[in-house]
């Protein structure tokens, strides 16, 4: 076959090929096959006496539109429209070497996390008998390997690695240096707040030390949502695995309870923390983020529930009856509302005009605020009556922190809807506020036990 290879023709074909490559349903070999087809047609036309340019145009016209072609291809190759997460396979060598090393480092960190939780057993600390020890320190087993993974992945400078090590050491000191007993309130508070404090330390590693950048902070918020979802998926799979293991071995008369509670469960759980993070990293640009999708689904449902609750509470006038637990429950409510707000923000197009969903968001936050203010009023009377305890102070502090965040968010969303404030202000408010969470979590861990006399 003889084609007059004018550079013009080659350039035109290259441009057409670029168009082909942009179609997801056509893969590389399809594009090559179709290009061969086009070239054959051009060759035939030029042999019949047409000029290169004319031959190209006629051949292109006879081939029909790319839309039509892709539609026909998608009938046979529908699987290509589903984005698949290929972890190690890659055509271009350099990228796949990188991802294979990445896989290796991830497995190393996951194994380190799984081993870490078994180290105390060497010193005679049993998972069940010393549950208090493990409860306080749980985040200290899983999160340092995760931070190490990110430190490697982001090629974090040594000074930041030193800072991370220092912060984790501080966490270990806070969890173990104070003379706390298992039934102390402040011990429980430490167990609850240390993971939050250390998770934000992981955030520093995630951001590669660049924690002042609000873009990076938003990325960390996105990462946290996706990580949480993936961790839950892994937990679900792990549950199935454990159930099957227990059942299958029991069927042949072997008891696997020790294996499961002493090894499978603790090692699997700590390793899953790293694996989930790696999955989020690997899928980042491949698969749609799930957290914003869930947010979209649940925001209207939560709005309906909160409004119904407000209505019912006013109707029955039952505010006086509030007992001890509500403060915690309403802390959770505020956390959920904040989460819904945060993950909507994380996926919102900054340039988009305010729409119906922003109004829905406003309703959600305002109704949550109203409920919370009513609860706070009721709780204040209890506190003035009984005085402050560690638990009540922590719950109240958290409530005030979340309340402040949401109240100011209402103001910013209002501004957004009225068109007087850019969306970026709401975004920056949330990313700046992370510092408040960090300060609070570390305060509870460090200052609360001495403040409340290690009780």
């Amino acid at each position: 076959m003889t084609i007059n290879r004018g550079t013009d023709l080659e350039a035109q074909i290259a441009e057409w090929r670029a168009h082909l490559h942009r179609r997801r349903v056509l893969d590389r070999t399809d594009a090559e096959e179709l290009e061969d087809h086009l070239r054959s047609k051009i060759a035939e036309l030029t042999e019949a006496g047409l000029h290169d340019d004319e031959a190209f145009l006629v051949a292109l016209m006879r081939m029909g539109s790319l839309d039509e072609l892709s539609r026909e291809f998608s009938r046979e190759h529908s699987e290509r429209l589903w984005k698949q997460l290929t972890v190690t396979a890659g055509d271009d060598g350099s990228a796949s070497v990188r991802s294979r090393t990445d896989l290796g480092v991830m497995i190393g960190c996951a194994v380190a996390a799984a081993v870490a939780i078994k180290v105390p057993a060497l010193f005679g600390l049993d998972l069940e008998d010393d549950a208090f020890f493990y409860g306080r320190n749980l985040s200290l087993f899983a999160l340092p390997p995760l931070a190490a993974y990110f430190a490697w992945r982001r090629r974090t400078p040594l000074s930041v690695v030193g800072l991370l090590a220092l912060l984790f050491t501080l966490g270990a000191v806070a969890a173990n240096a104070y003379p706390l007993a298992a039934d102390d309130d402040t011990a429980l508070l430490t167990a609850l707040h240390l993971p939050i404090a250390l998770w934000l330390v992981v955030g520093v590693a995630y951001m590669g030390g660049d924690w002042r950048s609000d873009r990076k902070r938003m990325d960390f918020i996105r990462f946290t949502g996706e990580w949480f979802i993936y961790l839950n998926l892994l937990a679900f799979g792990g549950g199935v695995l454990i159930g099957l293991t227990a059942g299958a071995f029991e069927a042949i008369g072997l008891n696997t309870q020790t294996l499961i509670t002493q090894w499978l469960l603790p090692c699997g759980a700590t390793a899953a923390v790293v694996v989930a993070a790696w999955l989020v990293e690997a899928k980042q640009s491949v698969i749609e983020n799930m957290a914003p999708v869930l947010t979209r689904v649940f925001t209207p449902l939560f709005v309906a529930t909160l409004l119904a609750f407000l209505g019912a509470a006013i109707w029955t006038n039952s505010w006086i009856d509030i007992k001890r637990e509500p403060l915690i429950i309403f802390d959770f409510l505020l956390v959920v509302v904040l989460g819904l707000l945060l993950y909507t923000i994380s996926a919102r197009d900054p340039a988009a005009r305010p729409g119906i969903f922003d109004r829905l968001q406003l309703t959600l936050v305002v109704s949550a605020l109203l409920i919370d203010i009513l609860v706070l009023l009721a709780i204040t009377s209890r506190i003035t009556e009984w005085g402050f305890s560690a638990n009540k102070s922590a719950a109240l502090g958290e409530n005030l922190i979340l309340l402040t965040n949401l109240a100011w968010s209402v103001w910013l969303i209002l501004g957004l809807i009225r068109g007087s404030m850019p969306f970026a202000r709401l975004e920056r408010w949330q990313t700046n506020y992370i510092v408040v969470y960090a300060v609070w979590a570390w305060t509870v861990v460090f200052a609360f036990p001495p403040l409340f006399g290690f009780a």
Partner: protein, 122 residues
């Protein structure tokens, strides 16, 4: 004359298998051969031919390999498999039954009316 879409689609598989049963070939040549065989009546689009070839490959009726076409670029060739030949034989039986039936009814009515009888000997 315009051949309807359904008929084109139904006859595509036996045509491709029949052409590949003669000798291995590639997309553009198959398209040309179909056009020639039908005297220009069957003009397949690329959107019909290539997905069909890929489907037949997936089903195992044909297999493909790449060969250098002119020393510079490579070209994807297709050849029929044993399973493809069996499929072709089956398709032939089905088409023969359909053609026989049509021919039967048309030769019975063509005596009464003057419909130009098509040539079926292909």
């Amino acid at each position: 004359m315009h051949i309807t879409k359904d008929l084109v689609a139904a006859s595509a598989t036996p045509l491709v298998l029949g052409i590949l049963a003669q000798e291995e070939s590639y997309g553009y040549a198959i398209l040309k051969q179909v056009s020639e065989l039908s005297g220009g009546q069957l003009e397949w689009s690329e959107g019909l031919l290539y997905p069909l070839l890929h489907r037949l490959e997936r089903l195992g009726d044909v297999e493909s390999y790449w060969r250098s076409a002119d020393g510079v670029r490579r070209r994807k060739y297709y050849r029929i498999t044993k399973q493809g030949r069996a499929e072709l034989a089956e398709q032939r039986r089905q088409w023969a039954a359909v053609v026989d039936a049509l021919y039967g009814i048309w030769s019975a009515t063509s005596a009464a009316r003057t419909i130009p009888a098509p040539a079926w000997e292909g």
